[in-house]
């Protein structure tokens, strides 16, 4: 890899602009509401609830929101996301007509009944090696998909978590995005549905109040370590324990973060009392009525213990069971039925899955990108003929683009793969682009 590092602020700004352009959310939707009296309102439907529709018209300081009674509405024309299901589904048009009170099935995404809660499943991690916190489960992508969730008028986000943990550095970021963006007043009802949340994955979910388990679910084992099972110790450990005390306060599962401490270190036993109303009082000792975790052990909840001690709101294997434990009486699952998935794939989830797939591919091909890039540079440097040199520079440029695309998709790869901060990476890219230009002189 060429190490020529030069400052080119103009080009850097260009890269930033390119990144910004690529990362910009899609334009706001153009929904149309046709009234019984013939009037048409065009804008973004921001809310629908119990017989009323709120539509935001215009933008910026000129934006206004109209409140329309569904009884006065003849039909709604929605701007639908262009979903591309894996198989079997019929091709759909960009916009479609949906009757207000039409019934909703998972195969008919984005149709809305008047008062039904619109719920989207967002997966955090998946099997097949795509589950590491920090790499496949990042604050970056959670933030990226928010516009799509809003565009799909999602009320409730269910994070379906299946991860064996990962990087400590991502926990606070994830917790902050969930707390500040998802749980915000203009955000979503935010739910965690646990298939497996081990270590950093459990620490991420811990800021969510409403947690349900799958029957096979597990949650805990949050001991921090590095390398060959070397535990975090002393101040470093205390800092992480303190961070999780604050995260625990967000989730409100206990009063002082006792549960998480029992998951972090075996010096923290855990017991509890459960009164006749089912209220649980936690103790960081073994004195409570129920010994949840003895000293010398690290706590991992399974679905039974989580329910028994009131940590989970219930256990659900299917969407129908989840509706029940969540107390949803009317629900619209957002997204399209897709072969191989038991839940509908929303536009936001599609983006999320694509992010993981690309990260996975890039992770596998990183060495290839850099090796071919370096080899092409070397060939170019040794070539006197400008036309032939141009072929090698072109090859190098395509590899560099692959590297840029990799980090654009997942900024954390700059750190994990190249041990660079995002700023350092941008600088490095600028230098490499200059190098390629120099080679063509």
């Amino acid at each position: 890899m060429s190490g020529k590092m030069k400052q080119f602020p103009g080009l850097m700004a260009g890269v930033a602009m390119t990144l910004a352009a690529v990362l910009a959310p899609a334009a706001l939707a153009d929904d149309k509401v046709v009234m019984n009296d013939g009037r048409v309102f065009e804008g973004l439907i921001v809310r629908e609830f119990e017989g009323w529709v709120w539509i935001k018209i215009g933008s910026g300081s000129l934006a206004r929101t109209e409140l329309l009674a569904t009884a006065d509405i003849e039909l709604i024309l929605r701007d639908e996301p262009n979903l591309q299901p894996e198989a079997e589904a019929e091709p759909r048009q960009q916009s479609e007509t949906v009757a207000i009170a039409s019934s909703k099935t998972p195969t008919e995404p984005a149709a809305r009944t008047g008062s039904a809660e619109r719920v989207a499943i967002i997966t955090l991690g998946e099997s097949g090696g795509k589950d590491m916190v920090g790499l496949y489960m990042t604050a970056h992508i959670l933030e990226e998909i928010i516009p799509a969730l809003k565009k799909e008028n999602v009320d409730t986000v269910v994070f379906l978590i299946n991860s064996g943990g990962g990087a400590l550095l991502e926990i606070q970021r994830l917790s902050d995005v969930i707390q500040d963006k998802y749980k915000a007043p203009d955000g979503f009802r935010t739910v965690a549905w646990i298939e497996s949340a081990i270590s950093a994955a459990a620490m991420t979910a811990h800021c969510i109040e409403e947690i349900y388990f799958m029957p096979e679910g597990n949650y805990g084992a949050c001991t921090g370590y590095r390398g060959p099972l070397i535990a975090m110790k002393d101040r470093e450990l205390e800092e992480v324990v303190y961070m999780m005390e604050k995260v625990s306060a967000r989730g409100g599962h206990d009063t002082e973060g006792q549960i998480m401490r029992a998951m972090q270190h075996f010096r923290y036993p855990l017991s509890c009392d459960i009164n006749e109303n089912g209220d649980v009082t936690w103790y960081q000792n073994e004195e409570g009525q129920h010994l949840v975790n003895p000293e010398g052990r690290i706590l991992t909840f399974d679905s039974r213990t989580a329910a028994k001690y009131g940590f989970s709101g219930g256990t659900a294997k299917t969407l129908e069971e989840l509706e029940k434990v969540m107390g949803l009486t009317e629900v619209e699952w957002v997204g399209r039925d897709t072969k191989g998935f038991f839940y509908p794939i929303s536009r936001a989830e599609e983006i999320n899955m694509r992010f993981r797939d690309k990260t996975y591919e890039d992770e596998q091909r990183t060495r290839e990108y850099f090796t071919i890039y370096q080899a092409a540079i070397q060939l170019a440097e040794g070539e006197q003929d400008k036309k032939r040199r141009g072929k090698f520079v072109g090859k190098a440029r395509s590899q560099l683009n692959a590297i840029v695309s990799m980090v654009r998709n997942n900024p954390n790869l700059a750190l994990f793969v190249m041990n660079m901060t995002e700023d350092q990476f941008e600088q490095w890219v600028d230098d490499q682009r200059q190098l390629l230009r120099d080679l063509m002189r």
Binding site: S127, G128, G164, S196, I198, S199, M214, P215, E216, G217, N218, Y219, G220, A221, C222, T223, Y225, G227, P228, L229, I230, A231, H265, F266, G296, R297, I298, L299, T300, F301, D302, S303, R304, T318, G340, F341, F342, Q364, R365, R367, E368, T371, I372, A375, A376, L379, R388, K391, F392, K395
Partner: protein, 481 residues
């Protein structure tokens, strides 16, 4: 093994066996039959002249003899009675319907209405058997299972019977595969392989089958990762030589590596996963703890036909020890016991205990017996499926994989890149073609290859193969006429 005074003595066991022989119609002395089991046993009734009442299924009759399949203590058996010993026979199936209360003549047959059974189009329950044999995670893998399940779906199966008998021989340790490994061999971490396999049953079937089949596991050898797989089903039967275990040793996991608190984390998360398996099938997670943790003590007693567990040593002769704390010297299993599968540092489930604990619904040695236990023996059709071929084809492919990979690499090496420009270009093209073949072969079997052995014999991984292809492309770019 710690011989406590509370273990059942041989005398007790013998007396129980005598009682069973003397009263074949009695339910298991240890565990009363469930209502479903009683219903099954109540199908045909023979009353002997000495007053003995025998329930079961009449499977053959001659002028002189009546042959009946009965079930005793969860074990199916076939018995024959001379007609001159029989006072009456009451049958539950067949076209005639005669109430026993009408007082049939000696040797006559009374019939009652047949029991309703699930009703597919042709009126018969369609049974599909998937044999799971070979090395767990390698020969028993998600891709062939998915294909077999798809075949079962296509053929309208009502029952999916997974006949599990995974290889637990010294072949796993590089031996000739002729000697069975003892129970105390440990392969707990195959749990994670099980987690890759089980969704084809727990997730894909509910999603893809309109009418849900009944999932049944019939266990002969369920060892290592194979021990977890049946737990996802609420219907497990054991072969009389069945065993489920080989997942001990988690207490010693990573011994000598790193810090104890991190080792404990590793144990904790693994047990969290293992509990999840047991919970899916509706089983008590303490049984899995006893199977996995050598430092875990578990006993049980049968109370009202149900097991009651105690996380301590037995405190009476009505209690039975399942696992003691083998980490303590005084309780550690003796080598002689470990070799013979008699140890109790960790629990290996055998038919009797598995039935007591509610893991196994019964012990059967033939498919007929299993169908009898499932109460579908009178009205089933065995689907002539492709499962056996599918599983065999995969096994053969896995068997041939290292050889085929080696052959491809040799062929790759033999392709020369020399001569004039066109010859060199052709040579590189042939090399890249061979690399793509290698890649396809690796990708086909990658799910079933131990990550530590991908690919075998030190061949480059797929990512390296990709890189080599790209290098050839670059070389071609750099080449000149």
């Amino acid at each position: 093994m710690k011989n406590t005074t509370w273990l059942r003595t041989p005398a007790l066991v013998i007396s129980a066996a005598v009682m069973v022989v003397a009263a074949p119609a009695a339910a298991s002395p240890a565990r009363p039959a469930s209502p479903r089991t009683l219903a099954a046993l109540a199908e045909d009734v023979i009353v002997l002249k000495d007053g003995t009442r025998i329930t079961g299924t009449i499977i053959e009759e001659t002028d002189e003899l009546v042959t009946m399949r009965i079930k005793v203590a969860g074990i199916a058996a076939v018995t024959t009675y001379a007609r001159d010993q029989i006072a009456s026979i009451t049958r539950t199936s067949g076209p005639e319907e005669v109430s026993a209360s009408k007082g049939p003549a000696i040797g006559s047959i009374a019939r009652v209405a047949p029991k309703p059974t699930p009703a597919p189009d042709d009126g018969k329950v369609r049974v599909y058997v998937i044999p799971l044999e070979g090395v767990f995670g390698r020969d028993i893998s998600q891709t062939p299972m998915r294909q077999a399940i798809a075949d079962a779906r296509k053929k309208g199966a009502d029952y999916l019977i997974f006949k599990l008998n995974n290889d637990w021989s010294d072949g796993l340790l590089g031996g000739l595969g002729e000697t069975e490994l003892p129970d105390d061999m440990e392969a707990f971490d195959q749990l994670f392989r099980t987690e890759e396999i089980e969704p084809v049953i727990t997730k894909e079937i509910p999603k893809e089958w309109e009418k849900q089949p009944r999932i049944v596991f019939w266990v002969r050898n369920a060892m290592g990762g194979g021990a977890f797989l049946p737990l996802i089903s609420d219907t497990i039967y054991f072969h009389s030589e069945g065993r489920m275990g080989g997942i001990g040793g988690i207490a010693q996991l990573f011994e000598g590596i790193g810090d104890e608190v991190v080792r404990e984390k590793q144990r904790s998360l693994r047990m969290g996963h293992a509990h999840g398996m047991a919970i899916q099938g509706g089983y008590d997670t303490r049984v899995v703890d006893a199977m996995a943790r050598m430092d875990y003590v578990l006993s049980y007693a049968m109370v009202g036909g149900e097991p009651v567990f105690f996380e301590r040593l037995p405190e009476g002769n009505h209690e039975t020890l399942l696992s003691d704390n083998g980490m303590l010297k005084e309780y550690a299993d003796a080598m002689e016991d470990r070799v013979r599968g008699r140890g109790n540092d960790v629990l290996t489930l055998k038919p009797g205990v598995a039935r007591d604990l509610g893991i196994s619904k019964g012990t059967v040695d033939t498919l007929d017996d299993l169908l009898f236990e499932l109460e579908i023996h009178r009205n089933y059709v065995l689907i002539d499926g492709r499962a056996e071929d599918i599983m065999k084809q995969w096994r053969d492919g896995m068997h041939d994989y290292p050889r085929n990979l080696r052959r491809l690499w040799i062929e790759f090496e033999q392709i020369a890149v020399r001569g004039d420009f066109n010859e060199r270009k052709k040579g590189r093209g042939a090399k890249m073609g061979k690399l793509r073949q290698i890649k396809r072969l690796c990708q086909k079997f990658i799910e079933a290859i131990d990550p530590r052995q991908v690919p075998p014999e030190g061949y480059p991984p797929i990512s390296q193969v990709n890189l080599m292809i790209e290098v050839f492309k670059l070389q071609q770019l750099a080449d000149q006429k």
